[in-house]
């Protein structure tokens, strides 16, 4: 299992990287962590003529707080985000999702942005991006543009990024919570073996005004149930409108099972995936609720 021969460049600026891609007439590809691209190269599922390694570009290496958001440069490792106090405080849903991504050793190389751009249907970080209304910052020969994560996913491994463009960063809104509001999060998944690709996963984030016992914001999503990450907006509305939120968690989970149309494969039938989705979402809702009740108030 060896890749087809390719040319390799390691530019020092984003502009050089984009220039190199432009010179490859659509046959170039970016490598950041390489934890998905490497296997695909080795198995010859892809055979680019040029690989542009963006790991030496300094401005892509950092997690930056920009006003009301956290911005992840293209080469920020998943492991770095997993250990970041800033991420734990501002983006607890991402913090909960990261230990499920690959293995510890692949997280040491794999990047947050790379996972979001690779768009595996069972990947965790694309779901987090869609649930938290992240924005993908893209640069290409025609200049820069931004795409909301909710518009970014088009299908299996298919995103709104063309072959001559580079995803520079992904920005996650992370505004301070209003006073008295606490955030609870949970990210659960089910896989055949520890650390394998998930059959199904569920994400829940609940912002709770503890004194009023009122939900001020809720984000719900499922992975592995569609070609693209599934944000369950109807369920979010159900929970937000409920006077006693935990009383509607079971109904919300059942509604999610009805709303999805998962594929069947070697590992699980569609019905099984639907049942697991409902079970995980209900558990995630309860876990996020309890977490919100006991969570430290966050700045």
């Amino acid at each position: 299992m060896k890749p087809v021969d390719f040319r390799y460049v390691r530019p020092l600026t984003a502009a050089e990287a984009i220039g190199a891609l432009a010179g490859a007439s659509g046959e170039g590809t970016i490598i950041a962590g390489g934890q998905s691209l490497g296997p695909m190269l080795n198995m010859r599922l892809v055979a680019p003529s040029l690989i542009v390694d963006v790991n030496a570009i300094p401005e892509l290496r950092t997690i930056d707080e920009t006003g009301q958001a956290l911005r992840f440069g293209a080469t920020v490792r998943q492991r770095e985000a997993e250990r970041s106090a800033l991420v734990a405080r501002r983006l607890p849903l991402m913090r909960d999702a990261l230990p499920h991504v690959g293995h510890a050793q692949t997280r040491n190389r794999g990047t947050v942005v790379g996972s979001i751009v690779h768009a595996h249907p069972a990947a965790e970080l694309p779901l987090v991006a869609v649930c938290l209304d992240a924005v993908v910052e893209i640069a290409g020969p025609a200049g820069s543009r931004e795409v909301a994560a909710t518009d970014f996913y088009r299908g299996y491994y298919e995103v709104a990024l063309s072959a001559d463009e580079l995803a520079l960063a992904v920005r996650f809104p992370a505004p301070a919570l209003p006073s008295g509001v606490r955030r609870g999060t949970a990210f659960l998944e089910m896989s055949r073996r520890e650390s394998d690709f998930a059959l199904v996963g569920a994400a829940a984030q609940i912002d709770l005004d503890v004194r009023a016992r009122r939900v001020t914001d809720v984000r719900l999503g499922l992975l592995g149930v569609a070609e693209t990450p599934f944000r369950f907006r109807a369920g979010e509305a159900l929970v937000r409108a409920a006077s006693d939120p935990p009383a509607v968690f079971a109904r919300t989970a059942r509604a999610a099972a009805d709303a999805i149309d998962p594929d069947a494969d070697l590992h699980a039938t569609a019905d099984y995936r639907r049942a697991v989705a409902a079970t995980l979402l209900e558990r995630a809702l309860h876990a996020a609720w309890l977490h919100a009740l006991v969570a430290e108030p966050r700045a």
Partner: protein, 159 residues
């Protein structure tokens, strides 16, 4: 074939070679440097047998290309023993606890567990299992491997 010069420090020694871009770091270590302790199993980042340290961090050397490691410091299983003849405390513990049978996965297990102990000198069983979840063993059933890491931790391997 597109070839590129690389300078990589392997187990403390700087080596310079010219490599094809598509050569994995694992193949570079085994075929160019004859360091055959790093094992190549699945060749797509799943089995963990090829785990080495790059700049102190455990990674899969089958899905990292040698050209990408230009300028890096790499440690392989051959670099665990201070003098190349004795064993490290973790390796001793693997012997003591029967943490291996055929030995194919062992280099990867050792590199992953060495990094864990450096970071968490006294890990729980759950932490060990979590860290080694990316290393597949077909012989031991894993229990003795966890015991070996615990024994090494008690012997102070993580200090």
């Amino acid at each position: 074939m597109s070839a590129y010069p690389v300078a990589i420090t392997v187990n403390g020694k700087r080596v310079e070679r010219t490599v094809p871009a598509r050569r994995s770091l694992a193949d570079f270590l085994r075929d160019d440097l004859h360091l055959t302790g790093t094992h190549v199993g699945c060749e797509h980042g799943i089995c963990g047998a090829c785990t080495v340290h790059v700049n102190g961090v455990p990674v899969r050397s089958c899905i990292l290309y040698a050209v990408q490691a230009d300028g890096a410091e790499v440690t392989t299983v051959e670099g665990l023993s201070p003098d190349g003849t004795t064993l490290s405390p973790l390796q001793d513990a693997f012997v003591e606890c029967h943490g291996l049978q055929c030995g194919f996965c062992t280099p990867g297990m050792l590199m992953a567990a060495t990094a864990l102990l450096r970071e968490v000198p006294h890990p729980t069983d759950a932490e060990i299992r979590d860290e080694l979840a990316g290393n597949i063993c077909r012989c031991t059933g894993y229990q003795q491997i966890v015991e070996a890491v615990q024994l090494a931790a008690r012997a102070g391997a993580g200090r």
